[in-house]
C-alpha cells in the first residue's frame, strides 16, 4: 500500500505532500533529511545517488526516489512490494513531464492544483488507480495555451461551459474522440550501447538495447500493424501494454491501438554478433609517476556506416589529490573542474577518415598525494550519438492501418548512441 508522498526540493524542503490513506506527520521528512546528510558525510566521494533507496526505521520504511534533483519520498508502515512503489514513484515525474514538459520545483509550484488532482487520481486508498497518461488527461485536463490565455484574460464564462468528457474509452491507454487534421505517426528507433572496454581495447562486457519511441497523432481508434524487415534481430522485448503479445510471438509483427501522444512502444535487446561492432575506439594511455601522470587519449572511428559521430564527450574523473592539469588537444575543447576533479573533453563531431582527435597532457598530485593516488585506476566515460544509423540494422517495413479510413503519414528515424559506455585505463 502506498500511503503518502512527499516531494522534496533539492534542499530537502517539502514542495508538495499527499496522503492517500492516513496522515503521516511531517517530522518523517526531517528524519529522512538527517539520514541523507548523515549518509552523505560518510565519505568524500559519497553523493546523493549513493543514499539507499529504502531507509529503514522502526516504524516507517522510507522509500525514496531521487530524480532530477527532486526527491520523491514515500514512507510506508507495512510490508509492500518495494518495486511497485518505485515503479509508481517514477511514474509521477513521467506524468508531470507529459503534462508540463518539464519537472522542477518551480513547475510543481506553478501547477499545485493540477499536480494535486493528478496525484488524487493516480492512487486510490493506497492502490494505483489510473496511471495511463491518456486516461488521466480525460479526467484532469492538461494546461494548454488556450486555457492559460483564457484564465489570463479572465473570460469567466468559458469555465462553466467546459464539460466533463463522457467517453472513458474501453482502452485504458487511449482517449476517445481524438481528432487531427493531418494524421501522422513518428517512430524513433534509438539504440544504446552499454560497454566496458579495457585498456587494450577489448570489450569486457558489451550489449546494446534499443527502444522505439513513438509519437502518435492519429484520429479515432486506429488499429496499427507495424512489421519489420528483419524482426529476428531483436530479442528479449518488452512492450507497451497496447501491443498484443500473441501476435508478436506468432508473426513477429507489432499490432496495437496506440495511445495518443508520446509513448515507448517497445524496448528490446540487440543481438550483438561480436564486440567488433563498437563504433568508436578510445585508446587511453596514462603513465602515473609519484607526483603526477602523463596521459594521452586517442579517439578513432570504427564501423559507423560512414556516418559522423556527433556530440562526442569524454569525461575522465581524476584522483581526488589531483591539483594541476595541463593539456592540449587537436579537436574540440577540454575543461578541468578543479573542485569535482573531472576532466571533460568536448570533441563535438568526428567525421570519418579525418584526423583522429588526440588529447594529451599531464596532471600533478598535490602535496597530500599518497601512493594510493599512483595506483588508482582510471575510467573514461564516453558519450556520442550517430544519426541515421542503427547498430542492429533493424528496419521498419510497413505500417498498416485498419479501423479508420485515412492514410497516415509514417516517419521513422534511427539513432545509435552511447548508453553506459566506459573505457578503463
Amino acid at each position: 500500500m502506498i500511503e503518502s508522498l512527499f516531494v522534496l526540493s533539492p534542499t530537502g524542503k517539502v514542495i508538495i505532500e499527499k496522503h492517500w490513506h492516513e496522515l503521516i506527520p511531517r517530522r518523517v521528512v526531517d528524519y529522512f533529511n538527517d539520514q541523507v546528510s548523515k549518509a552523505m558525510s560518510a565519505g568524500e566521494d559519497v553523493t546523493r545517488e549513493d543514499v539507499l533507496p529504502i531507509i529503514s526505521t522502526p516504524k516507517y520504511q522510507l522509500i525514496n526516489v531521487y530524480r532530477d534533483g527532486l526527491t520523491y519520498l514515500s514512507p510506508v508502515t507495512k510490508e509492500v512490494d518495494p518495486m511497485m512503489v518505485f515503479e509508481f514513484l517514477h511514474r509521477i515525474p513521467d506524468i508531470l513531464q507529459e503534462y508540463f514538459g518539464q519537472v522542477s520545483e518551480t513547475v510543481i509550484k506553478e501547477n499545485f492544483v493540477t499536480v494535486y488532482q493528478l496525484l488524487e487520481e493516480m492512487i486510490d486508498d493506497g492502490f494505483p488507480l489510473t496511471t495511463e497518461p491518456n486516461a488521466l488527461k480525460e479526467i484532469v485536463p492538461a494546461p494548454n495555451i488556450l486555457n492559460q490565455v483564457v484564465a489570463a484574460v479572465g473570460a469567466a464564462t468559458s469555465v462553466s461551459t467546459r464539460k466533463m468528457p463522457h467517453g472513458m474509452s474501453n482502452l485504458p491507454w487511449r482517449k476517445a474522440g481524438v481528432k487531427y487534421s493531418s494524421n501522422e505517426i513518428f517512430f524513433d528507433i534509438v539504440e544504446e550501447i552499454d560497454a566496458i572496454v579495457d585498456s587494450t581495447g577489448k570489450a569486457v562486457s558489451c550489449e546494446a538495447h534499443g527502444n522505439i519511441q513513438t509519437n502518435s497523432r492519429l484520429s479515432g481508434m486506429p488499429d496499427l500493424t507495424l512489421s519489420f524487415v528483419n524482426p529476428r534481430l531483436v530479442d528479449d522485448c518488452s512492450f507497451h501494454p497496447s501491443v498484443r503479445f500473441n501476435k508478436w510471438e506468432s508473426d513477429k509483427v507489432l499490432t496495437f491501438v496506440p495511445p495518443d501522444g508520446h509513448f515507448r512502444l517497445m524496448s528490446y535487446r540487440v543481438n550483438m554478433p561480436s564486440q567488433q561492432n563498437l563504433p568508436v575506439q578510445v585508446k587511453p594511455s596514462i603513465n602515473v609517476g609519484a607526483n603526477g601522470a602523463k596521459f594521452d587519449i586517442t579517439v578513432s572511428l570504427r564501423n559507423t556506416d560512414n556516418k559522423p559521430l556527433e556530440g562526442v564527450v569524454l569525461t575522465l574523473p581524476l584522483h581526488k589529490s589531483t591539483t594541476t592539469l595541463t593539456a592540449q588537444c587537436n579537436m574540440g575543447q577540454y575543461m578541468f573542474d578543479p573542485v569535482g576533479k573531472v576532466l571533460r573533453w568536448d570533441i563535438g563531431k568526428i567525421v570519418p577518415r579525418e584526423r583522429a582527435p588526440v588529447l594529451s597532457g599531464s596532471f600533478g598530485f598535490g602535496s597530500t598525494s599518497s601512493e594510493a593516488a599512483a595506483n588508482a585506476g582510471y575510467n573514461i566515460g564516453v558519450e556520442f550519438l550517430i544519426n541515421g544509423h542503427s547498430l542492429s540494422g533493424l528496419k521498419v517495413d510497413v505500417l498498416k492501418l485498419i479501423n479508420e479510413s485515412y492514410k497516415p503519414y509514417k516517419g521513422v528515424r534511427t539513432m545509435t548512441k552511447a548508453g553506459r559506455y566506459q573505457v578503463r585505463a
Binding site: V14, V76, F86, V113, D125, P128, T131, E249, P317
Partner: protein, 795 residues
C-alpha cells in the same frame, strides 16, 4: 509545518486578509471566483497547511453546477471529512444523487468520494452505493466500486460478510479492466477465502496477461498464495544437476518459442523416464498458471516482471526457472532504485538456484558510476554465480576492481576473490596466486586484505599450503601493514610443525620488530612463540631464549591484553618449571600491585593455581596451542535473504517488516477443492456456480479472439495430456467417492452443462483431437465431475 508559526506571525495581517478573501470567493455567485478560492485552498493543502476552518464554506458548493468546482470541493472534503464529520454528512445527499448520473465519470467520482469520507455513520449508505455500482455497465465504475470495498470494510468491519458476497459476485466479472481491483479488494478483505477462487482459477489465469499492470501484480500475489495451498510441491523433485542439464538443452531453443513454454511438451520430447516422472508431478492447473504468466515477463512494468519471477521461484520446478533470468537482467537497465530491488532479489534467487544466472555474469560487472549499494550487491552475486566455466572472467574482473580508488570497494573485491576461491575448489590455486600478487601491492589496505583472504583460504585447505606460507614468510620484511603481519604470524605459528626452518626465523624477525608492531601483531607473535616452544619443548635453546625475550618485552607492554597474554603463555608453557613459575608469580604480584590491573586477571591466576593442585594444564600445552582451528565460514553479507518471498520489502531489508506474511508451506496431501466447497455455506456454492458459468463465457470469447494461438497449442496438448490425465483422474476417483454428498451432485449437474458446452467448443477449434478421446473424457467426467473443478475451464 516548518517555520509555520514564524511565517504566520509576520504575515498575520496578510493571512487574515487572505482568509477573508477566500471566504468571499467561496460565497461568490460567480464560478470563476469560487474556483479561484478553491484553488488557493488546494494549493495550501498540498503544502501541508491546515485549512479545515473553511469546511462550512466549501461544503456549500458541493452541489455546484460546475464540474471544475465540484472536483476541487471533493478533494477538499476527502481531506477534512474525518475532522468535520457532522458537516461532511451534509454532502452525502449530493453524492447519492450523483450515483445515478448519466456520466460514468461522475458516478465513479461520487462513489469514490463517498467511500473515501472516513465517517463510520455512513457505512450503510456506502454499502448501498457499492451494491448499486457493482452492476454498473461501465467497467470504470465497477472498478471504483471494487476499490470502495476495502474502504467500506475499514469503516465498519461488521459488514464483512456482505462485502465478501459482493466480492464473490464481482469475481465473476469478465472485464480485464475491473478484475484487478476486485482481486485487490479480495486480498484486503478476505485473503483466506481461497475457496472463492476455485471456480475462477482458470479464468484468472487466462485474463492475467490482459489486466492492467497493477492488476497483474495483485493477481499474481493471489494466485501464488492460492497455488501454495492447493497444489503439491513440484519443486525439489529434480536435482539442480539435472536442471542445469535441462537448461542447457532448452536454452539452445529460442527463448520464448511456443513449445518450451508448455510444460507437458517439454517432457514429452525428452525420452528419459525420470523427467516424465517430474512432469506428472506438476499439477496441470499449476502448469497452466505458469504458462499464462510467462508473457507478462515482457511487461514494461518492473514489478510485473518481478512478480512473474516470484511465481517461478516459488512455484515452478527447478528446470523452469531459467526463464526468468534474461528478463530480470533486463531490469538492470532501469532506474537505480529498481536495480537495487532487482539485484537484491537476484541474490536471493541465486543462493537457491545459481544456474539461473551463471551465464549472465558479465551483466553484474561493476561500472565506476554505479552507486555503492549497487556495487556491493553485484559483487555478492558475482561470487555466488561463479562456476568453473566463468570463473576466469570473473576473477580477471575482480582484480580490475582492486585498482579502484575507493578503499571499501577494494576491500570487498578482495574478499570476493577469496569467496570465489573457496566456492570453487578447482580454482583455489589460481585465486591464491592472484591474491599473493596483490599481497606485494603498494597499497597497504590491499596488502592487508589479501593476506587476510589468503589466511582464510589456507585454513580451509591445510594440506598444501606450506609453499605459500613460506612465500608469505619471506615477504614479511616488505609487508608493513600490521594486520597483514599479524595474519602471517598466526599462519606460521599454526603450521610451525611443517616449517621447521622457517618458523624460528620468523620468530627471530618478529622478536626484533616486536616493539613496532601493533596490538594484534604482538599478540600473534606471542602465540607464535608459545606454539614453537610447545612443539620443540626445551630442546632448542635458541627458541626458548627468543620466546623468553618476547615474553619479557610483552610484560612491560602498554597494552594490558598483551601483558595478559604473555603471562598466560608463560604460565602455560613453563608452568612445571618451579623456579620459573615462582619468579613469574613474584612478577605477577608485583605487577598486580603496581599497574592497577582489572580484577578479572585473577581468573588467570586461579587457573594457574589449579594447575599446581594437580589439574596440570601444561601437560596439554600442545593440544591447547596447536589444536586444529576450524576454518572460518565465509558468510556472504547478503546471506539470509532467500528465506523471504521474492519481491517483498522484507527480502530487500533482510529482516521481517511489519505486515510480512511468509508463504504458506506446500500441502502434503493434494487438497480437494470440491470438498471445501461442500463444507462452505450455501451462498458461496451458489456463487461458485455462477462464476463457473461466466468463466466459461469468457473462455469462449477468448477462444474466439485468440483462436490461432489456442489451436496451435491445444493440438499438441491433447496428445501429451492423454496419458497424464488417465493417471491423474485415477487418483482423483478415490477422493471423489469420499465426498459424494447430495449437495455435490446438484452442483455437478450444473457444472456438467457448462462442461459439455466447453467441449463442443474445443472440438470445433481443434480438429486434430480425436472424437473418441473427447467422449471418453465426457464419460469420465460424468463419473467424477467435481474432481477437476478448476480444470473444467480448459477441457
Amino acid at each position: 509545518m516548518y517555520n509555520m508559526d514564524a511565517y504566520l506571525k509576520t504575515l498575520t495581517s496578510n493571512a487574515v486578509k487572505l482568509t477573508k478573501k477566500i471566504r468571499k470567493n467561496l460565497d461568490s455567485k460567480y464560478e470563476k471566483e469560487k474556483l479561484d478560492g478553491l484553488k488557493r485552498l488546494i494549493a495550501m493543502i498540498s503544502k501541508g497547511r491546515d485549512v479545515s476552518e473553511f469546511f462550512p464554506d466549501v461544503v456549500k458548493n458541493v452541489a455546484s453546477t460546475s464540474l471544475e468546482v465540484r472536483k476541487l470541493v471533493y478533494i477538499y472534503i476527502l481531506r477534512y471529512a474525518e475532522q468535520e464529520q457532522d458537516l461532511a454528512l451534509l454532502s452525502i445527499n449530493t453524492f447519492q444523487k450523483d450515483l445515478s448520473d448519466k456520466n460514468q465519470l461522475i458516478r465513479a467520482m461520487a462513489l469514490r468520494v463517498m467511500s473515501g469520507i472516513r465517517v463510520p455513520v455512513i457505512s450503510p449508505i456506502v454499502m448501498l452505493g457499492i451494491k448499486k455500482c457493482v452492476t454498473d455497465l461501465s467497467p470504470y465504475v465497477r472498478k471504483i466500486a471494487a476499490h470502495a470495498i476495502p474502504k467500506c470494510y475499514q469503516l465498519d468491519p461488521a459488514q464483512k460478510d456482505a462485502l465478501i458476497d459482493i466480492i464473490s459476485t464481482m469475481l465473476g466479472d469478465n472485464s480485464t479492466f475491473t478484475i484487478g481491483s476486485v482481486l485487490m479488494a479480495f486480498n484486503q478483505v478476505c485473503p483466506d477465502r481461497l475457496d472463492l477462487i476455485h471456480p475462477q482459477f482458470r479464468k484468472l489465469c487466462m485474463m492475467l496477461g490482459d489486466m492492467d499492470e497493477w492488476g497483474q501484480i495483485t493477481a499474481m500475489d493471489l494466485l501464488l498464495r492460492y497455488s501454495r495451498t492447493q497444489f503439491l510441491n513440484p519443486i525439489g523433485k529434480t536435482s539442480a544437476l539435472t536442471a542445469r542439464a535441462k537448461k542447457e538443452k532448452s536454452v539452445v531453443k529460442s527463448f520464448y518459442s511456443d513449445d518450451d513454454s508448455d510444460v507437458s511438451h517439454h517432457s514429452s520430447n525428452s525420452s528419459d523416464s525420470s523427467s516424465d516422472d517430474e512432469n506428472n508431478s506438476v499439477d496441470q492447473d499449476l502448469a497452466f498458471l505458469l504458462k499464462c504468466a510467462l508473457p507478462s515477463l515482457q511487461s514494461r512494468n518492473s514489478q510485473v516482471v518481478l512478480s512473474v519471477a516470484k511465481l517461478y521461484t516459488h512455484l515452478a520446478p527447478a528446470e523452469e526457472s531459467y526463464k526468468i533470468g534474461r528478463p530480470l537482467i533486463r531490469l538492470l537497465r532501469s532506474h537505480r532504485e529498481n536495480q537495487y530491488v532487482v539485484l537484491n532479489n537476484i541474490v536471493a534467487i541465486v543462493s537457491q538456484r545459481p544456474y539461473v544466472f551463471d551465464q549472465f555474469y558479465q551483466y553484474f560487472f561493476v561500472r565506476s558510476t554505479d552507486p555503492v549499494f549497487i556495487r556491493n550487491l553485484k559483487l555478492d552475486i558475482l561470487t555466488m554465480i561463479a562456476t568453473e566455466s566463468n570463473i576466469t572472467f570473473i576473477l580477471r574482473e575482480l582484480q580490475e576492481y582492486v585498482k579502484s580508488s575507493n578503499k571499501d570497494f577494494v576491500t570487498q573485491a578482495i574478499e570476493a576473490i577469496g569467496r570465489c576461491a573457496s566456492n570453487i575448489p578447482e580454482m583455489t590455486e589460481s585465486c591464491l596466486g592472484g591474491l599473493l600478487k596483490l599481497a606485494y601491492s603498494k597499497s597497504e589496505s590491499v596488502v592487508a586484505e589479501s593476506v587476510i583472504a589468503i589466511r582464510r583460504l589456507l585454513q580451509q585447505r591445510p594440506d598444501d599450503s606450506i609453499v605459500l606460507i613460506t612465500q608469505l614468510a619471506k615477504a614479511i620484511d616488505d609487508i608493513t601493514e600490521p594486520l597483514a603481519r599479524a595474519n602471517i604470524f598466526w599462519l606460521v605459528g599454526q603450521h610451525c610443525s611443517q616449517l621447521p626452518t622457517v618458523a624460528p626465523d620468523v620468530l627471530r624477525k618478529a622478536a626484533k620488530s616486536f616493539c613496532s608492531e601493533n596490538e594484534h601483531g604482538k599478540l600473534q607473535i606471542l602465540t607464535l612463540g608459545g606454539k614453537l616452544v610447545a612443539l620443540e619443548g626445551a630442546s632448542s635453546k635458541t627458541i626458548n631464549l627468543l620466546f623468553q625475550y618476547v615474553l619479557n618485552m610483552a610484560r612491560y607492554d602498554l597494552d594490558y591484553n598483551v601483558r595478559d597474554r604473555a603471562r598466560f603463555l608463560r604460565a602455560l608453557v613453563y608452568g612445571d618449571q618451579k623456579q620459573l613459575a615462582a619468579g613469574d608469580q613474584d612478577a605477577e604480584a608485583h605487577e598486580n600491585g603496581d599497574a592497577k590491573e582489572p580484577s578479572d586477571h585473577m581468573e588467570d591466576m586461579s587457573g594457574f593455581e589449579y594447575s599446581e593442585k594437580g589439574l596440570n594444564l601444561s601437560d596439554h600445552v600442545k593440544a591447547i596451542l596447536l589444536s586444529e582451528k576450524p576454518a572460518p565460514i565465509q558468510e556472504n553479507p547478503s546471506h539470509g535473504r532467500e528465506h523471504y518471498t521474492v519481491g517483498s520489502m522484507s527480502l530487500v531489508l533482510n529482516r521481517v517488516v511489519a505486515g510480512y506474511e511468509s508463504l504458506p508451506e506446500w500441502p502434503t496431501v493434494q487438497p480437494d477443492p470440491s470438498q471445501e466447497l461442500a463444507v462452505g455455506g450455501g451462498a458461496s456454492r451458489y456463487d461458485g456456480q455462477a462464476g463457473t458459468y461466466r468463466g466459461a463465457q469468457t473462455l469462449d470469447k477468448f477462444l474466439e479472439s485468440s483462436s490461432e494461438e489456442d489451436t496451435s497449442s491445444s493440438g499438441g496438448e491433447t496428445d501429451s495430456d492423454g496419458s497424464e490425465e488417465s493417471s491423474e483422474e485415477g487418483s482423483d476417483e478415490g477422493s471423489e467417492e469420499n465426498s459424494g454428498g447430495s449437495d455435490d451432485d446438484e452442483k455437478e449437474e450444473g457444472k456438467k452443462g457448462a462442461d459439455n458446452h466447453e467441449e463442443e467448443e474445443e472440438e470445433e477449434e481443434s480438429d486434430g483431437s480425436g472424437e473418441g478421446s473427447s467422449e471418453e473424457e465426457e464419460e469420465e467426467e460424468a463419473i467424477l465431475p467435481a474432481a477437476s473443478k478448476r480444470s473444467n475451464g480448459r477441457r
